[in-house]
Chain length 200, copies 2
Amino acid sequence: MNPKDMKYRELFSVSLELFALFGYKKTTVQDVADRLGMTKGNLYFYVKNKQDLYLKTITHALSSWRDSVKQAVDRENDPVDKFRTMALKSVDYIENNTMLRQILMKDPSIFTLSPSEDRFYDINQSAMTIIQEILNQGIGEKRFYPVDVEHVTQYFFSIYVMFLIKTYVKSDTSSSRTMFLEALELNIRGLLLTHGVTPA
Amino acid sequence: MNPKDMKYRELFSVSLELFALFGYKKTTVQDVADRLGMTKGNLYFYVKNKQDLYLKTITHALSSWRDSVKQAVDRENDPVDKFRTMALKSVDYIENNTMLRQILMKDPSIFTLSPSEDRFYDINQSAMTIIQEILNQGIGEKRFYPVDVEHVTQYFFSIYVMFLIKTYVKSDTSSSRTMFLEALELNIRGLLLTHGVTPA
DNA sequence: TATTGAACAAATCGTTAAATAGTTCAGAGA
DNA sequence: TCTCTGAACTATTTAACGATTTGTTCAATA
């Protein structure tokens, strides 16, 4: 890894921590520069402005999240297993990433139900392809009902965002875990082309 | 109907219109009193304060919505028909109620994904019983999978709120209609105890 | 290419006074 | 007794002000 990439990694790591701790407004570029042992002027050699620093930092964190889920999904073969793994790994990742969780709580607009005002549209779009590929595989293998892939992908992504909002923006931790698992199985049954009569 | 109830109906009607037109902040107590042909002082004979006027007005509007859906559901017998009617009637009602729609757009906090900060908790709770009764009937008649009724009810209500936010708070009208219909059928398949292999 | 530090610009904050809007209440019809 | 008025009162919002903090630029430098 070249030295500039190293600098960026350090930069994103430091600013993620500060943004998680103080939020966007309370974190000054001076704070970030201090922690990096440089002057704030020099920070502008790496990013356009404070907003750009924030966007790049969050995007970097969301990409790691996506990659982690994608990796777990790729270890499975069966589309149902992939679907379940995707859902569970997504939750597991955020559950074990305190800083990202804190940032979501401090900045609810990171997860919006409106694609048109989504500042992280590209990374979210790429997260949606994970869903899309699983649906296509499941339908191709005649395991899944031939749903409208585009709209059902959007729907599942919206549900995922809804859960994140419910659980981490509003902290409705109590029942949302059980609700999540019930919903997962309900959606899997809704996807399957046939399913037997085997209640849990 | 006694004259005081009449006054209340008129009051809610007038203030719903004004709140829809100008929003909470821009609507003054004076405005409402003027439209009712009374002084603002006298308004305090009917409501505790401005906030109370707003809450009572919205609650009244949401109750009408609920009642309309409940009535439509009660005309059906089959739990699947009831479920589908509930979903479609809910959308149909808001689609044809411009003032309520305008209020939702002006005050996004009316529909929250967090029960604990829901100012209209009671009326929303009573709306949830419609879902709950359908689920109980479906399971009782061995048509529905024996899901965890409480959590699945919460889940469906959350999806309903999510759609309202997507469609009316963020105005993402474009794809959300198709998404809604796809989701409806997916959820019905997820509920059914068995379903045949009959893709649309 | 990467960095500094000073200079500059933009945004925020704390305070103030004036205007507006919300609320109370004694008293007056019906 | 129930409904209402209108004036008095209180609370909130708005605009303006300078002071301060913070974000951004850039010529000089290693």
